[in-house]
Symmetry: C2
Subunit: 556 residues, 2 copies
């Protein structure tokens, strides 16, 4: 079966690899949830499928009789999901993973790559149910939920599968080694075997449960390792649907379904117990820095992290100011700043911003930026979907606390009405003016719709502060607007050295928040924001080792 | 200059890369110290050059006035070297590395690969002086010293340079990214920059100072990182000569000579101070497990280790026994068991070994193995060079302690005369019979010429013990002799899964101790013997990260 899956999907893998190498635009799955692409009833069917899961046991995850069921998800749009999931003990999960390991590892790299591509293609039919599941666990607006937990996540998973296949097959797996020794030749027949490091654990986050978990899941699987997926207790459903689909495809093709399992928190949280279990060899994690650093220090584990960062934007000079501020306002508003890629600190020269219309004073820049945000908040068609809802109540508390900081409030956070969801936890961003000297305020992550506007003595100071913060506190993105080539070159040098990917002069429908599969490495692994970069060779090759066997040919 | 160096050396790099990919035999530098290859006076000149260094300050390492000088090397052949080296404080080394970093990193991957290949080609002229320096610090016999600190080390370094060049240039460094958005297209111009993680530290060992250090040194350099080389205080000279040569070549081509520096221990040992210095980003280490594990746990560092292991050999069945025992006896004798690749535990069925001449009883196998070792020890032409001398007096003490273990002494260790060196610390191997149940005796490393012969109930028990020991205590090599295909397959499965490279049925001039550049991955990184594998992609890619910059093209 598998050999034919590999040939069937070879064009998909080849196109992915070609994009990975040339870094050009590529998308295997269209990002628009359009009826023309996905079918006239796809969205309604998907919502119905999601609704049908509410209040029930989620089945199809290999549950055994006697397994306890747990679940406590609530939609940020204001209702409990009421879904429970099988919650077997950690030892049972590890035992089943170990039992699946042999036959999973015995598949050839081509077999695994073919089967995993098939699993992606087949499970893409669940984009719409997963989108609603994502919306009602993370609080994302529908469009973002569809894209982030659907085509964009699938593309990133395909990237891991394709690069995994390449890494596993990059060197000869057999060789005849002939060494001249004096007038004779010593001949050895050599074989090289890829050995997966062992069962992987992927710990998901509450805001991007699928997008941030899929690369690790597929990287583990393609390199021959079973994987246990432990979602955040607040965002289980999107991964439960995905894992059930993968298991179904594996079983249909005679592969061990326990190569991928779902682990859920029960009475107590199990991430630590799982991570420290001697049966876990590889850990992928997205979440807060404290737990990430604890994981990175676990001895004998291969650990990939994406932790917190403090992203900056620098306004230096522009052609036209409005398109720039529109772009920035949207970046600050999207999913209420709950993206690891959202800018937090916006540095603007106190002397104002040079533009084709002349110098725009600082106060005017700020006023016009606020107007753009107000424009989104006041637009009933665009606003609710842009902001989405706030995933965790603690984020609302953080906004209240931030509003009490010794800073000038430039724009207050205000409730946003989400049509159809009267109880939705949805707000617009808080903007505060912070002085460069108040490093203790802005040089740390303030997760959520909290933006610091920092007036500086000029772009030199903006850059020094942004660079220091990236190097010390981490950064996952960085945005610059400048028409000055020297400034651009200087900023690139400093920020790239500090491990921050740089976006320059974005306007229109492309935002600093976005990282494109096959082209953008998400997180550089070059600063404290994380030690993993999606999807680079290191993300793959640390999951396996190669053992060689060499054998002397009988002398002729 | 550099562009032309890259084109000059492109054939060398291409041949290396081709071997790396197909894993066939390749050697850039001939391994025999033959006058026909290296010149009639090369050996005598090399010895003279070595002798001229004795008792003096070693100059040419960028020493500054006021720098203290230190050195305490003694030849295991029985005389002090009396050489001192400049020993600047750790902070000064780091400051100079940091000062060199910018211009070193600014070289393109091709420039660095070209310059480093030139440095290898030019410094290969020092093979003979380095061979004598190695002989009289490590105790290796001359031939091994020549090969291990000369052509074999240079090949391994070239492997790192070539693979480094490939990894750095594997993905496009620029792209035009065109994303269809509705009927429009968003165009971003993208650039990707390789950023070295920072100054590297390479901590050498006392037995293979050059071979084990060169891959890390050249991997750091090719990926844009300056490197500080900290040899073992007992084996400084071979690396001092090499580092001085590299600095000379860098300077001659306008590159910063401080991209590579030598650090030596003074009044106190400086490895810890260096390793913990915030300026050190990458560490390569060969040595004992305790210090290696301490290094692996240092937060925020990228650490590559080769630590201790317990290597096993299993005798199952043979065609002819004598060639097998000759091969094994040589492996056990070579450099008096001071190789990380030497077998320590030899498992032999108590029922004997099946051979074409019939079953050979266990006692006869052991007796004939001892005869082979005695043959080497008694051969005045071959013996002294094969055994070499014992690097550290503690190894002699370990032999005495081992002889007191509650085990049957099969062969006593005895002094070996080294012609011309009456005071040489040279001995032949101790062979002890240990029972399978005495795990506390043989399941740990006993460094030096100490061999445990373990009679087992059969190959199943041999395999179970060898596999457990590899998985728990680490193993860098493993040797099997068997004519049974089922046994070979079973042993390969178990030992490769435990991270031990497997050598099968070696006879003649090829030994389990040898790992060939371009073909054999030295250490799998799949068991506690080390986390680095020479030279695989992971050994390269963890030394740098990639930061991207993307810029919106002005709308047309």
């Amino acid at each position: 079966m598998s050999a034919s899956l590999f040939s069937t999907h070879r064009p998909i893998l080849d196109a992915a690899l070609s994009a990975i190498h040339d870094r050009r635009f590529h998308a295997q799955w269209p990002e628009m949830p359009s009826p023309k692409i996905y079918g006239d009833t796809a969205q309604a069917d998907g919502e119905a499928a999601f609704r049908a899961l509410l209040g029930k046991r989620f089945e199809g995850l290999g549950e055994e009789s006697g397994t306890p069921w747990h679940g406590s998800e609530e939609s940020p749009y204001g209702f409990p999901l009421g879904i429970t999931y099988p919650a077997p003990p950690v030892d049972a999960l590890l035992r089943r993973a170990e039992a699946a390991r042999g036959s999973w590892a015995a598949l050839s790299p081509a077999d695994r790559a073919g089967l995993l591509t098939e699993a992606l293609v087949a499970s893409a039919k669940q984009f719409f149910p997963i989108a609603y599941a994502t919306m009602h666990t993370t609080g994302q607006g529908f469009l973002m939920a569809f894209q982030a937990s659907g085509p964009h996540a699938w593309d990133r998973a395909l990237e891991a599968v394709a690069l995994g296949y390449e890494e596993l097959t990059r060197f000869a797996s057999a060789a005849t080694w002939e060494k001249p020794v004096g007038k004779a030749v010593v001949t050895l027949r050599k074989n090289y075997r890829v050995v997966g490091r062992g069962t992987g654990l992927v710990i998901g986050c509450s805001t991007f449960p699928v997008w941030n978990s899929f690369p690790g899941i597929f990287a583990d699987l393609v390199t021959g390792n079973p994987v246990i997926v432990k979602p955040h207790p607040g965002a289980v459903l999107p991964l439960a649907i995905a894992v059930a689909e993968l298991r179904r495809v594996f079983a249909a093709h005679g592969a061990p379904e326990d190569a991928v399992q779902l682990a859920v928190d029960g009475e107590s949280l199990i991430a630590k117990e799982l991570a420290e279990h001697p049966g876990i060899a590889i850990i992928d994690y997205t979440g807060n820095s404290a737990f990430g650093e604890y994981l990175e220090r676990l001895p004998g584990k291969t650990v990939f992290t994406e932790k917190a960062g403090v992203n900056a934007a620098i306004l230096d000079s522009v052609d036209a100011l409005d398109p720039v501020l529109e772009n920035l306002a949207f970046s600050l508003s999207l999913y209420s700043g709950q993206m690891c890629t959202t800018p937090q600190n916006v540095f603007i020269p106190r002397a104002g911003v040079r533009s084709a219309e002349g110098w725009v004073p600082y106060e005017d820049v700020v006023r016009r930026l606020i107007e753009k945000i107000d424009g989104i908040a006041g637009n009933e068609k665009v606003g609710p979907g842009t902001f989405g809802a706030v995933q965790h109540p603690a984020t609302l508390e953080r906004i209240s606390t931030a509003a009490q900081l010794p800073c000038r409030v430039l724009r207050a956070s205000a409730p946003v009405a989400q049509p159809g969801f009267a109880q939705a936890r949805s707000v617009s961003p808080l903007l505060l003016e912070v002085l460069p000297g108040q490093a203790e305020v802005y040089q740390r992550e303030m997760f959520g719709p909290i933006v610091f506007i920092i007036p500086t003595s000029g772009t030199d100071e903006s850059l020094a502060l942004a660079r220091d913060s990236a190097a010390r506190a981490g950064a996952i993105t960085f945005a610059l607007w400048s028409v000055d080539e020297d400034v651009i070159a200087r900023v690139e040098d400093a920020m790239m050295a500090a491990g921050a990917p740089v976006s320059v002069n974005l306007t229109g429908p492309i935002w600093v928040n976005q990282a494109a599969a096959f082209s953008d490495f998400h997180v550089t692994a070059g600063n404290p924001a994380g030690n993993a970069s999606l999807v680079n060779p290191e993300f793959i090759v640390r999951r396996f080792f190669v053992a060689g066997s060499r054998r002397k040919e009988k002398d002729a």
